[in-house]
Each structure stands twice: as structure tokens, then as C-alpha cells.
């Protein structure tokens, strides 16, 4: 008698639960490409609320179970993990799927520095980030070609494969100053950058002086680096005079390749010149007390 009443109450309980669709289930494709439309198979009958949950997009709409659910490419433009969810009343079924990035369409090409001294090893570093048209990072290794065109020298190529969307390399600058063009390409996408190669430190810095009464006018010879590149106008040259009155310093910019300064003399004086970390020659000049 007790068993019979339990069975009846169990049946009543079952009858009070809303009828659920038979095997509510979604079956997305194993792999989807960003920006491409696709369908998700659904099973069951009746209507359900469909949700698409992505990292940057969510969608909600009514679907007919048993029919394929069309997901337009615009809803899966970002790569990564998505969840497709179908709910009937409080019963929900979810399925995960992965959206893979599309083909390379954009390069983030970062070259540092924008001005590099000549003949310096590993001074230029280039970083390439490979994205598809939706700015998704291409996780799969992608070949990146880099074409280097240094000033006054033949162009050359280097290749690098991306790792998690990034490829990087370091190169040295060449001896001649001028524009060093670097072009990165992946697939049909190219991205150019320019590094301005500038003269390095001064080399063989020489100083001449002209004595004129109480004054001496000093002038450098054309200031060049060790590769013969003239240092840029505006580069500071420091002249230092030491005499009986002590030390006197003048900072002068290079103008038209040379730097000049004038000192008042007080007896014997020694005048030296420096540019950056480079010291030039020293002049000894006798003055009138």
C-alpha cells in the first residue's frame, strides 16, 4: 500500500514538471574561422532561446530546435572560445567551440630606435605582431619576411617565424648614415619603417687656434665619426681653457661641420676639445699678461 502511494506521488511529480524537449542539444562545428558564417546543429523540438557567448560579443535569439542555427560571421569576428547555449524554460544545454583567427591581414611593426648611430651592433630591434583583419593574434607560427635596405649598401633579407603572434630580431647598423628602410611582410601584407642612421661618436677630433691679442679663436676641423660621416649640426662640442685664472668652459654647437669658440687669455693657457665621450687634441697658447 505504501509502495503504491509512493509510485502515484512520483507519477504526479513527473506530471507537474514541464515537458522538456527531447535531448536538447547543440553541436557546433569542431573549428570555426573568425568572420565566417557557420551553422550549429540543434536537436529536440519546439522553440528555444539561443545564446552565443564570446569574449567580446553576446547574442540572444529564438531558434527552432531540430533546425540548424545560422551564426553570421559578424558574430564570431573575434577568435577564442565561445559557448553556444540553448534554453527551454530553465533547462539549458551548452556547447563550446573555438574560433580560430583568419589569415594575416595586419602587421604591428615596431622598430626601435628611430635614430641609430652607424656601425653599432644589435642597435636596431624590430618586433612584428601578426593579426588577422579582425585584430586577432595569429597563434599559429607565421613566416615573416624582413627586407633591409641600408643606405649605400645592398639590400638583404631575413626571415623569422612568429611565436604566439610575435616575431622579433635585432640587427646592427651599417657604416653609412642615411635612411635605413626595413619592410616586414607576411602573406600579402607589407609594412615599411625607416630608421635614420646618424653619425656615431666623433673620431680624430682636432682643434686649431688663432691667437689675436688678448683673445684666441679656436675651431675644430670638420667633425666626423670613424666611418667618415659628418656629425649632425647642433651636436655640442665642449672647449675647455685652463690658465692662471682657472678653468673656463664653452659649449658650442657644430655649424656647417665645425664648432668654434673664443677665449680671453691670461698668460699661458691650455685649450682642449671634447665631443661626447671623445677627447680631441690640446693646444698650448701663450698670452699677454
Amino acid at each position: 500500500m505504501r509502495r503504491t502511494s509512493l509510485t502515484i506521488s512520483g507519477l504526479l511529480l513527473l506530471l507537474t514538471v514541464p515537458a522538456l524537449p527531447q535531448s536538447l542539444r547543440l553541436q557546433p562545428p569542431a573549428k570555426v574561422t573568425a568572420g565566417e558564417s557557420f551553422t550549429i546543429a540543434s536537436s529536440g523540438s519546439g522553440t528555444a532561446t539561443f545564446y552565443l557567448l564570446g569574449s567580446s560579443h553576446v547574442a540572444k535569439r529564438t531558434i527552432h530546435l531540430g533546425e540548424d542555427v545560422l551564426v553570421p560571421g559578424s558574430e564570431v569576428s573575434d577568435s577564442g572560445l565561445y559557448q553556444a547555449v540553448a534554453c527551454v524554460a530553465s533547462d539549458c544545454s551548452a556547447a563550446r567551440f573555438v574560433v580560430a583567427p583568419s589569415s594575416p591581414a595586419r602587421l604591428g611593426f615596431l622598430v626601435h630606435p628611430s635614430r641609430a648611430p652607424v656601425s653599432t651592433s644589435n642597435v636596431i630591434n624590430a618586433t612584428v605582431l601578426v593579426f588577422d583583419q579582425f585584430n586577432n593574434t595569429l597563434l599559429a607560427p607565421t613566416d615573416v619576411d624582413l627586407r633591409f635596405s641600408p643606405p649605400g649598401a645592398a639590400s638583404y633579407d631575413r626571415n623569422a617565424a612568429t611565436h604566439r603572434g610575435i616575431a622579433w630580431l635585432e640587427i646592427g647598423s651599417t657604416p653609412k648614415q642615411g635612411q635605413f628602410q626595413i619592410v616586414a611582410s607576411a602573406g600579402s601584407v607589407t609594412e615599411p619603417r625607416i630608421v635614420q642612421q646618424v653619425a656615431s661618436e666623433a673620431c680624430g677630433l682636432r682643434l686649431n687656434g688663432t691667437h689675436n691679442g688678448r683673445f684666441v679663436r679656436v675651431q675644430t676641423e670638420p667633425v666626423r665619426d670613424c666611418s667618415g660621416n659628418p656629425l649632425s649640426d647642433g651636436t655640442i662640442v665642449t672647449f675647455t681653457k685652463i690658465d692662471s685664472e682657472g678653468r673656463s668652459t664653452v659649449d658650442a654647437p657644430i655649424k656647417k661641420g665645425v664648432a668654434t669658440a673664443q677665449f680671453e687669455l691670461s698668460g699661458q693657457a691650455r685649450i682642449s676639445v671634447a665631443c661626447g665621450v671623445v677627447l680631441g687634441n690640446e693646444l698650448s697658447i701663450g698670452g699677454r699678461p
Partner: protein, 182 residues
Amino acid sequence: MKSKLHLMECFQTLLLLGATILCFSHHSGSAANAASLPRVVLDADSIAPRPIEQQTGETVTHAYAQAWQDLADSLDSNNSDLLSEYFIGEAKQRLARRISDQQKTGLRTRYTDHGHKVRAVFYSRDGGEMQLEDEAQLEVQVFDGQRVIYSDSAAHKYLVLMTPGADRWYVRSLESAPNNAF
């Protein structure tokens, strides 16, 4: 003994920094944690081509933890204003788009964050970009109104690009990745 010393160092750091906990777990790793911040442990052993400085490691760890807290708060409250502090560029735009979609559809997402194991793998020579791989332990619940329509508790992988700003590091790109991605 060493671990005791380490705990002492952490405790001292705690006292110094108040609510924000930043302490070093070892030479090249750091951890960020606080009462309200998700736990982030940064491992920078395999970073290249530039090594990470100690202070940079601390700053990145802290910024990433803050970013995840802001992400969780913004997706739960559907308030994209909360993204302005630690997100920038593509990451900010994508999250803002999701919040906008959630507002339109009446959804919201609740994250219960159980921590992030983060590996710094790329740091450019000029210090302008840092790439991280994050394995996050997250509980995710998506609500339609008051009803949970999706819940999940699992490890989630993210590929992250961070860039420095004037006074902090920003999350510039935050992309979910398949479990076998790294």
C-alpha cells in the same frame, strides 16, 4: 628558514603597501594579491629578449590583477566605465562591446576568480610591449535576468599583451585561447 624569511619580507611589504599586497615569490617571479584583488602569480623565467626588472614585475602583476577585478566588476554590473583604469586599445574595445551586447540582451556575467598563473614570455628590447600567457582558474556564471543560463568552472587560457603608460601598465590585448594553445 628561507621560507620564514620570505614570509617576513612579504609581511613587511604588506605593512608598507597597506591593502595592496605585492611580494616576491622568487628571483624572477612576483605575486599580487589583496582582499579584493584576484591572485596573480607571475613567472618571468623564460622571458625574452629583455629581462624583466623587479619593479616592472611588481607593477605588471599588480596592474593585471587590477584589470581582472575591473573586468569582473564591469561584466557583472554592465558598466564599461570600470574598464578605463587598466584596459586600453583592442582589449578595452572588445570588453566594452561585450558589455554593450549584454545590456541589449539583458545578460550579465559573474566571474569568481580563483587566481592566475601568468608566464611572461616576451618583453621587447625597448620595453614597449610585454606578452603574457595566463592560465586562469575561473568560475563563470552567465545570467539572463535572474536565471543562470550558463555556468562553468575550469581553467581558461588567455594571451595577453601589456604596454606601459605614464604611471602604470595597461592590458592592450586579452584574447581567450584554446586549452592546447600553450
